[in-house]
Each structure stands twice: as C-alpha cells, then as structure tokens.
C-alpha cells in the first residue's frame, strides 16, 4: 500500500518510498524487511500508471510511456478502460517476470558458483561500467559519478587492513558514511527540494476531470483487452524481462522499447499517441515484467539492474546479507521467498488498488506545502534511526545538495550509489584474490578475461564503433 500511494505521487515515486522505508525496517527480521522493500518496489510503478492515465502525469519515468496513449484515452472518456488494461497488464506482467526469474536462478546457479574472489570483484566493476555508461547521456559523467562513489566508500576503516583512511580525525567518519543517509540524500532529498522550489499549488497541476470517469464495467473491459491482445502482451513481457536483466539500461528504456515495438507491429500505427489500448498494454506489461529480469543480476551477482534495485541492494547490506554467489549458497530459501514476494506483490498491488482508485489518485493533488515537511521529517528520522546519530541527518543534507546538483547537471546518481556500495566489496575481493594469487594472476583466469573484456567493451564501445566505421570507410 505504501508503494502504491508513493507511486501515485508524481515526482516522489517508488525509489523515494524505498529510501524512506529502508531505515524504518531495521528492527525487522531480514526476510520481512526485504519482503517489505521488494513489495514497495514491485507495486510503485503500478500506482504510477494510474496517475499517468487519469491526470496525465506519470508517477515516475517508468510510467512516462503510458501517458502517451493512456491520457488521450482519458480525454476521450475511456480512462477507466485504460486503467483496467494497465492494471491487468501490470499484474500479469509482474507474474511473468517473476516466473522467468524463478526459472533462471537454477540456470545461473552453477555459473555463479564458479566465481572466485577475483571474478566477483570484476563482476562489480562490470556492473558499475554498465550502470555508468548506459544510463545517462554522458559516459564521462557516468563513469566519474561511479568512481566518486567508490572513492567515498574508501572513507573510514579499511576492512582488510584495519587502517582508517581520510577521516581527518573525526570519530564520526571511522566507520565511513552510513549507506542510509547517503541513499536518502541522493534520492529522497532532491525530490523534496524540487517540490519545495515549486512551493504553491498541488503536486499534479492539472484539472481533475479524469477522476469522474471510473466505472467498474469499463475497468473490466480494459482487463479483458489484455487477454484479447495476448500476443502483444507476451512480446512486451519478453522485452521487459530481457532489458531488465541488463544493468543500467533502466525501466524507462524497456517501456519505451515495448511501446515502439507495439507501434511498429500494429496494423494501425497512426492511432498511437491518440489513445489506443495497445499503447497502454505494451509499456505496462514491460514495466512490471522487467522487475523479474532486473532482480537476476542483483540476486545472483550483487549488481543491481536498476536504480530501485540499487536501493534494494542497500537494504540487503543493511540487514547483513551480501547478494551474489554467497547469497545463492547460503540464503537460497530467502532468494525464492523474494521471488514469490515479487509475484504476489504485483497481483496484490492491483487487488488493493482497484477499490480505491478514485480516492488514491487524489494523493496527487496534495499541496506541496503539506507534503514537503512530512517527507523531509520522515527522511531525516530515517537517516538518524540506524545509528541514532545526529550527524547522519547532516550527512543526508550534504548528499541531498550533491544529489540535487547531480540531477540538475545530469550526473548519474545511481552510478554513485552503486560505486559507494560496491567500492568496499570490490577492494576487499581484489585484495583477497591478489593475496591468493600472489600478484595479478587472478586477472588471467578464463572468466576474469571474459569479464575484463566485457568491461572494456562497455566503456569503449562508442570509440571502437567509430574506429570500425572509419576503417570500413577507408577500405571503401
């Protein structure tokens, strides 16, 4: 329910909800806490689709493609049908993604077990390279953000040698920056700053006429539309799941890709953008099915497939669980609990949302001046709660300013968080591998060579492509 409501608020979205709830889950059993976070994550984009269709403002970038045809449908008086189709595509899409994930885990299990310390360190670097270069417009900015995150993770006591680094004598920095204030600062605070800057008026600054259109009969008709177009639905699910597996490509890319595919393969592409049901089904199916895909690299390799997965990864670490080969070895039960949770949340999210759609959409019309202090207060308490340390609130504010500046100048916040999370891990595994191989020998195992080549290819893909083109032109 938290995920649904936060997902409904344009500009706040699921990642903020997860960042705020993360510190509040400390006292819980790890399985319960991670289930809570995953459930919020799974349903937030479902909530966002309703505001995208009814008021024309997506809850987050993930629902942006749904606006293209969902809102025109509302304008034509078919908002309820579009909502029905979106919710059904989301629920069944999430189910498909979850099932694919459950089937793939046993397949990747032997591969993951073949990984030693050196390979695990290199997987971390590969994941960072993916996130840094594929999400965002500038590769240099993306890579620099990821490396800055790694540099910040070096502050405090080094796990392998016990040396305290870059603390400037401050006892607060002995354990380094806590993950929770960093995540809250980078993801929750910039949204609060954005809302505070807008000051007056409601969050969704549009008319409420779409709210009057909710009819059960047409919602049901919309749901049936998904099954009438099962072919498009399944193809969109495949697109979502596959794109979700590639770290850094992002959910928004999956939804637009599915939307573009639906338009290309439609018998009436001219209808797209003017309110066609296929334009709602395709992005929503891809949107929720991609979660199953993006969980695979997170669980199996400890490399998150998306921004929200990066926060979820933070949740794992806060609760003392290290995703990756170790998790599949020792917490396979938890892994499958989370897969089941992903499937159930997607379905339950829709069941919970249906009776309250018209009421819940009103959340988008809360005044900014009401919601800003409430989010800020909860985020501040969240930053404080883990270590009961006043300085953590200040850290959150510092990272909040940095996060807003990064958002404003198009730096990659996800890469920074990922670098911060993976920095210590990569250093530790590299150190162990270096010691075991008595040198850089760990870089020359077959798996390491594949991973290194892949990392270099990801980073230098554009210059290499340009070089090949130039050579080809030269030959002609």
């Amino acid at each position: 329910m938290i995920g649904l409501v936060m997902g409904l608020i344009p500009g706040v979205a699921g990642i903020t909800a997860m960042a705020i709830i993360l510190p509040l889950s400390f006292g819980m059993d790890p399985a319960v806490a991670l289930t809570l976070l995953l459930a919020i994550h799974a349903v937030s984009c479902t909530g966002g689709s309703v505001t995208a269709i009814i008021v024309g403002i997506p809850g987050s970038a993930l629902n942006a493609a749904t606006v293209l045809d969902g809102y025109p449908m509302t304008k034509k008086g078919q908002g309820d049908r579009a909502v029905g189709a979106a919710l059904c595509a989301s629920a069944v899409g999430g189910l498909v993604g979850g099932v694919v994930l459950a089937l793939l885990i046993p397949a990747v299990y032997p591969i993951v077990l073949a990984f030693g310390s050196g390979e695990t360190a290199l997987v971390g670097l590969l994941g960072l390279a993916f996130i840094a270069t594929l999400s965002g417009r500038s590769k240099v900015k993306g890579l620099a953000s990821g490396l800055i995150g790694m540099v910040l993770s070096f502050i405090g006591m080094q796990a392998v040698t016990g040396e305290t680094r870059f603390t400037f004598g401050s006892t607060y920095l002995y354990d380094g920056f806590s993950l929770v204030p960093v995540i809250l600062g980078l993801f929750a605070l910039p949204e609060v700053i954005g809302l505070a800057l807008r000051r007056g008026g409601t969050i969704a600054q549009v008319d409420r006429s779409g709210l009057a259109q909710i009819s059960w009969h047409y919602i049901w008709e919309g749901m049936k539309d998904v099954f009438h177009r099962w072919n498009l639905f399944l193809r969109s699910c495949v697109i979502g799941t596959v794109i979700g597996m590639i770290p850094g490509v992002g959910g928004a890319a999956a939804t637009f890709f599915a939307y573009g595919h639906a338009k290309q393969t439609s018998k009436h592409p001219e209808m797209f953008g003017h309110g066609t049901i296929e334009g709602v089904i395709a992005p929503e199916a891809a949107n929720n099915s991609k979660e199953g895909g993006s969980m695979l690299p997170t669980l199996a390799f400890g490399v998150p497939g998306s921004a929200m997965m990066a926060v979820l990864l933070g949740g794992f670490l806060v609760h003392g669980i290290q995703p990756g080969p170790e998790m599949l070895r020792t917490h396979l039960d938890l892994t499958f609990t989370l897969v089941t949770c992903l499937i159930i949340s997607n379905i339950l999210g829709v069941v919970l949302l249906l009776p309250f759609i018209s009421q819940l959409v009103k959340v988008a019309f809360i005044r900014g001046t009401v919601i800003v202090p409430l989010i800020l207060v909860v985020a501040s308490f969240g930053a404080y709660a883990m270590n009961t340390e006043f300085w953590d609130i200040i850290t959150m504010f510092a990272f909040g300013i940095m996060g807003y500046a990064m958002m404003r100048f198009d730096y990659n916040r996800v890469a920074l968080v990922l670098g911060f999370i993976l920095g210590g891990m990569v250093e530790q595994y590299a150190y162990i591998a270096f010691g075991a191989a008595r040198g850089l020998g760990f870089l020359f195992t077959p798996i390491s060579l594949v991973l290194l080549t892949a990392t270099l290819l990801v980073i230098f893909f554009d210059p290499l492509k340009a070089l090949f083109r130039a050579v080809k032109k030269g030959k002609q």
Binding site: G27, S138, V140, K141, L143, A144, L147, I148, M150, V151, L152, F154, Q158, V160, T161, E163, R165, F166, L189, V192, I193, A196, L197, R199, R367, T369, V370, V372, P373, L374, L376, V377, V378, S380, F381, Y384, A385, T388, F390, I393, I394, F397, G400, I401, M402, A405, M406, R408, F409, Y411, G423, E427, A430, Y431
Partner: protein, 147 residues
C-alpha cells in the same frame, strides 16, 4: 569571465579525488592502492569533464533545462534555508520535539490552516515518540537544551 554553474560540481569532485590521492601517501601501500587507482582514473575523467565544460560553446537550452533553471537564485536560497532549518530545532530541542515543531512551522508559515498544521505536527510526534521511541525503543536525541 563568468563561471558556469555546471563547472562547479566536477571541480568539487576533482578536489575530492586529488585530496584522496595526496592523502593516500600517508598510508601503507595496501591501504593506498585502491584510492590511488580509482581516484587517479576519476581525476582524469573529471579533468576531461572540466575541460569540456570550459571549452563548450553555450548551446540553446532544451525545454527541460529551461524548466530546471526557471527558478531564481533567491528561490533556491529560500527553499534551501527552509529545508535546512530543520536542523536547528532538532539540534536545540531534540528529535521528538524538533521534528513536530518544524512540521508545524513549515506548514503554518506557508499559509496552511491551523487545524492541518497542528494535526500534522501531532501525527509526526505520535510517529516519532510513541512508535519509534516507545514501541521500537529507538533512542531519541534530546538536543543541547533538553539533553
């Protein structure tokens, strides 16, 4: 020459990475190796970015960028001050009083009604004091005046 706002962030990052490299000389090689390698690569990339920002011609702004810079410096300052003001009551009177007080002040001074402002403050107090402090037994910072 006017300094472009977009150059400030990479410059700050550059200061961080150079500091890390320089301070790395204080530590044994095991502790300094990673900061040198990672900080070194980051420094090169940030230097490239600073050069790019310095040499780039001023492009016409996209709609998104225009919206983003539509706020004046005064608006940024005002919003920033309002948000950072949260630290003052928390520092002085602690978490359980400071957070509700801030909620009330923010809403009331932004012309929200008395009932809503008081209800929000009471809700925040209930959440912090009874739920987290009482039920979950989280230690609540008492502030320098009440601690």
């Amino acid at each position: 020459m006017r300094v472009r706002a977009s150059i400030i962030l990479p410059l700050l990052f550059l200061v961080v990475t150079i500091t890390v490299i320089v301070l790395g000389f204080q530590y044994p090689i095991e502790a300094a190796a990673s900061p040198w390698v990672i900080g070194g690569v980051a420094t090169i990339l940030l230097f490239v970015q600073v050069l790019r920002e310095t040499l780039a011609k001023v492009k016409p702004k996209s709609q998104e960028e225009t919206e983003a810079v539509a706020y004046s410096g005064r608006q940024y300052l005002e919003a920033g001050l309002w948000l950072s003001c949260l630290l003052i009551p928390v520092y002085l009177v602690g978490i359980s009083i400071g957070l509700p007080l801030y909620t009330f002040m923010y809403q009331k001074l932004h012309r929200e009604g008395w009932i809503l402002s008081i209800a929000s403050a009471v809700a925040v107090f209930g959440l912090v004091y009874f739920f987290f402090g009482g039920l979950l037994r989280v230690y609540l910072y008492k502030g320098i005046l009440l601690g």
